[in-house]
Symmetry: C2
Subunit: 190 residues, 2 copies
């Protein structure tokens, strides 16, 4: 193996180090604590190295968001494949989605409100995003009827997103979360 490949490997490792450090720091102290100085300090390099890997701070956050989408997709897949009766699939997947947002609020935040420049609903969207959307689509396929499956999936996703977002921001009474979720799922199932 050439020297160049070793360098490339080290570069790739350092890039991952930056992303995971940003994620850990954010999950520990919130995104406000993730400044370029603090992050550089955390990875034990100087600030400018960050910019040799990423175009800017937002690009780092976007990288964290992509990781988040991969995690979310994995959670949804697990819930879908583990669901007992086929009529329970939607409820399980919905609960998994809401659970993800609740367990990892900081991650959900960067995925949906901070890293807004991520390409979506287009072929060049990261596969992690398409996977997650695909899980929702499969969970909904039995319910599609004559509705367009794609439209139904987007609508279902929107409902879940609204529920978790408004609750996270303190706009809904927390104690009724499960009832709202159950009501939404039941009505969406016709």
């Amino acid at each position: 193996m050439s020297i160049q490949t070793r360098r490339d490997r080290e570069r790739a490792e350092r890039e991952r180090l930056i992303v995971t450090a940003a994620r850990k720091l954010a999950e520990a102290e919130g995104w406000d604590a993730v400044t370029t100085r603090r992050l550089a300090d955390e990875v034990e390099y100087s600030q400018p190295v960050l910019y040799s890997h990423f175009k800017g701070k937002r690009a780092i956050m976007t990288a964290v968001a992509v990781e988040g989408f991969a995690d979310l997709a994995a959670d949804l897949r697990a819930a879908r494949t583990a669901a007992a009766g086929s009529d329970r699939v939607l409820a399980e997947v919905g609960a998994a989605y809401a659970g993800f947002a609740e367990r990892r609020p900081v991650l959900y935040d960067v995925m949906f409100t901070q890293a807004v420049d991520l390409p979506f609903a287009t072929p060049e969207a990261p596969t992690a995003l398409q996977d997650g959307f695909g899980e929702l689509r499969e969970a909904l396929r039995p319910l599609a009827e004559d509705d367009d499956l794609e439209v139904l999936t987007e609508t279902f996703w929107s409902g879940l997103h609204g529920l978790v977002t408004l609750m996270r921001h303190g706009r809904l009474r927390r104690e009724d979360h499960d009832r709202r979720l159950a009501l939404f799922i039941s009505r969406m199932s016709q």
Copy 2:
């Protein structure tokens, strides 16, 4: 009238001036353009005056958000009272909500993602918020059945919020917006 009252009146006018200037500036150039310096320049006062009226920049944004909630409530009320058949009410109100978010994205932004410290779902929430929520509740009352009306309203609201938020952030195909809205309303109507 005493001098004090005149001063109080002038203070109140200037406070309104600040809020409307912030709103106009944001709607014209986005919230990134609303810096304290720029805003002070716009109202033709120095920076510190802003802080004699508001605790900080976020408080100014919150004031703009409250104005936004009043506007939204007015839109919803107009849609609800103008709806022809009683089975059209929900569709009209939903369309009004989505239309508001589409027509005033910057305002909707500050209401739901920037000014997160606004009290909600509690008695001390500004009346504008309670009015808006009340409009949704009245639109849904005929559909409540044995579901708790409050829970149903929160769920409906969440769905609308998710639809407009994800679309605004480019996560949903714009051309299917009306179909998603129609699907959501029809399923929520049982």
